[in-house]
């Protein structure tokens, strides 16, 4: 009989044998199977969860925050919350959307914390400065990206999330509603407010003004 705790496989090489030679590969397959394994606190299930949805969680957090030094820690926070709350997940087939909603919740909490701290301290703490400088890229593109996130910093956390997921990520209204845990109507309202604020700021910036004009989805909701 193999003890559950001794069964290990490690991402990103799930087929590699651990040193003790005890291998019982995770049975892969559906999200529902994965959820069962997570509820059983299987070690390889945690790795599988990360491997399967790490990129998705990272993408959502980066869309909301931009390129930020805190992203790796926030990714781990998302998975830690998911791991802790997996027993509360009612529909095991909705794992991806549920993880997305945790990612958005984590990003929103972080944004609000950061805003409070800025209000409190009045300046950027060094650890908030992005670690990743701009790579050589078309100048207009990198400038537009950084200016867009500067303007997003003036929106409320909810407006910013809706705006980033809709216009930068290109998600549908339904998908945004799912990960934000609100109705489509609420998403539309947040987008509308966010767009108004964005336009107000962009009026002073010709690059952003043209960016809006170039974007097909602008004005849809």
């Amino acid at each position: 009989m193999v003890d559950e705790d001794s069964v290990r496989s490690h991402s990103p090489q799930p087929t590699a044998s651990p040193p003790d030679g005890v291998v019982r590969p995770f049975p892969g397959g559906s999200d529902a199977t994965l959820v069962v394994a997570l509820r059983g606190r299987r070690a390889d299930a945690a790795d599988q969860l990360f491997e399967r949805y790490g990129d998705y969680v990272e993408r959502l957090i980066v869309r909301v925050l931009g390129i930020d030094a805190e992203v790796p820690d926030l990714i781990n926070e998302v998975f830690a919350r998911a791991f802790e709350r997996v027993d509360q997940l009612q529909d095991a087939t909705a794992l991806k959307g549920w993880l997305g909603s945790i990612a958005i919740f984590t990003a929103r909490t972080f944004l609000r914390d950061r805003r409070s701290r800025r209000r409190f301290l009045g300046f950027f703490a060094p650890e908030e400065l992005p670690e990743v400088p701009v790579r050589p890229a078309p100048v207009e593109c990198s400038q537009a990206l950084s200016r867009t996130y500067a303007v997003l910093g003036t929106l409320t956390a909810d407006e910013r999330i809706a705006f980033a997921l809709r216009f930068i990520d290109g998600m549908s209204l339904g998908e945004i509603a799912e990960v934000m845990g609100v109705s489509v109507g609420t998403v539309k309202r947040r987008l509308s407010h966010g767009q108004k604020r964005f336009v107000r700021e962009a009026e002073r910036d010709p690059l952003l003004k043209e960016l809006i004009q170039n974007s097909e989805r602008w004005g849809e909701p």
Binding site: S11, G66, P72, N76, F83, E84, R135, C141, N214, S215
Partner: protein, 405 residues
């Protein structure tokens, strides 16, 4: 005229940046690293109860401490065993050694702080947070070591080097004693190889690197131009060779634009991209004539005729007699534009402006060929006569003889 992107293009750009940043890899590296994210606000601002906060911290610790694969053991100082995630700070008055099971050793200078972010059977991932480390990495076929220094990553196979990070000025200094390392991250879109005897200074905040080659330090090319002229073949060859200590160096004392360093290292596309990012027009105003020739060569060799012409033209205005800029413009017209009459005019200009230029034989041969391709056979034959008289053993002798038959 600027090209304003759409939100879709911003997404593409952001995806490239997040891939480059390696957030997922870092998140994975921090699993097994028992260092929860620092509290981002004062405790009294939190909305969570203490119990809830402790529960969240416990779940994060559980997630982070999930077991890692077999890994190199290492000790700190006088033999204290440590594990992945250990934060190490050398005392203010003495060095602190880290010794790994494969014989690799990192000596942290006094006051240095670092973290062993992760370990595996092939090596370790260290983060130098502040100060200086002298490393002696034992070479093994499968070894894989990485040192993060600010925004830069130093990939190591086996070597001896000295690296420091000044967190205040955000400058990395790297000195290679043996072997080679590859430095990436920061403003570098491709890894830059640093070899034994070279010293690299990388400035995280102003997109600039300085690479100096040990005893063979080379100062920036100075005007006037004739002393700096290089045969065409030498410029092309550099695209295929790794930067050697004596050829891919710039002054360690002067401030050198990133594109100059990349061009010297034969990374022409990167050099052009870096110049674009710095503002191509502004660089054409700012750079010396010799540097502009290097920029123009990089643009030409990476296929950008318009940028090459722009930089050669700017160089012409800064170099005595135009330097070899007219010759470069001739190459662009000939090779990239297919405008042979225009090319011939440029080669003629070069021959007129540079009576003792190092590229006269090449320019005369190209002039002959340009007239021939333009269908101007009388001009081509006239140049062929001159070519055979001056360069009877030149590479275009056969063409010249054929034209005169």
């Amino acid at each position: 005229m600027t090209r304003v992107p759409s939100f879709d293009q911003l997404r593409t750009e952001q995806d490239a940046l997040r891939e480059q940043a390696g957030f997922l890899e870092r998140a994975q590296a921090r699993r097994g690293v028992s260092r929860p994210r620092p509290q981002t606000r004062p405790w009294y601002q939190t909305r969570w109860s203490l119990g809830a906060a402790l529960a969240a911290a416990a779940s994060l610790m559980l997630w982070l401490s999930w077991p890692a694969s077999s890994e190199l053991a290492f000790t700190i100082g006088d033999g204290q065993r440590a594990h992945a995630g250990t934060f190490v700070a050398a005392p203010a008055d003495r060095e602190l050694p880290l010794r790994f099971a494969d014989g690799t050793r990192f000596a942290l200078s006094a006051g240095t702080s670092a973290r062993v972010a992760s370990l595996d059977a092939q090596g370790a991932h260290l983060v130098l947070e502040k100060g200086r480390a002298v490393a002696a990495v034992v070479h093994r076929p499968d070894s894989r070591w990485r040192v993060d220094v600010g925004p830069f990553q130093v990939a190591v196979v086996g070597t001896r080097f000295d690296v420091s990070w000044d967190a205040a000025t955000r400058v990395m200094e790297l000195k290679l004693e043996q072997g080679a390392v590859r430095v990436s991250g920061g403003m570098l879109s491709e890894a830059l190889e640093v070899r034994a005897g070279q010293r690299l200074r990388a400035f995280a905040d102003d997109a600039r690197v300085e690479l100096a080659g040990g005893d063979e330090e080379v100062h920036p090319a100075s005007e006037p131009s004739t002393a700096n002229e290089q045969p065409e073949t030498a410029a092309v060859d550099s695209a295929h060779s790794a930067p050697a200590a004596s050829s891919a160096v710039v002054s360690s004392g002067a401030s050198t634009p990133l594109w100059r360093t990349l061009a010297a290292a034969g990374k022409f596309r990167d050099a052009l991209a870096a110049a674009e990012q710095a503002g191509f027009e502004a660089e054409c105003h700012r750079a010396s004539g010799a540097d502009l020739l290097a920029l123009a060569d990089a643009a030409r060799l990476s296929g950008s005729a318009a940028r090459a012409e722009q930089a050669y033209t700017a160089a012409r205005g800064k170099l005595p007699g135009g330097g070899r800029a007219s010759y470069g413009l001739g190459l662009v017209a000939f090779d990239q534009r297919g405008d042979f009459v225009r090319a011939a005019r440029y080669f003629e200009t070069y021959l007129r402006e540079q009576p003792s230029g190092a590229l006269r034989a090449e320019a005369t041969g190209r002039l002959m060929e340009a007239w021939q391709r333009a269908g101007r056979m009388s001009e081509a034959r006239e140049v062929a006569k001159q070519y055979l008289a001056r360069y009877p053993r030149g590479p275009q002798t056969a063409r010249a003889k054929q034209l005169l038959q």
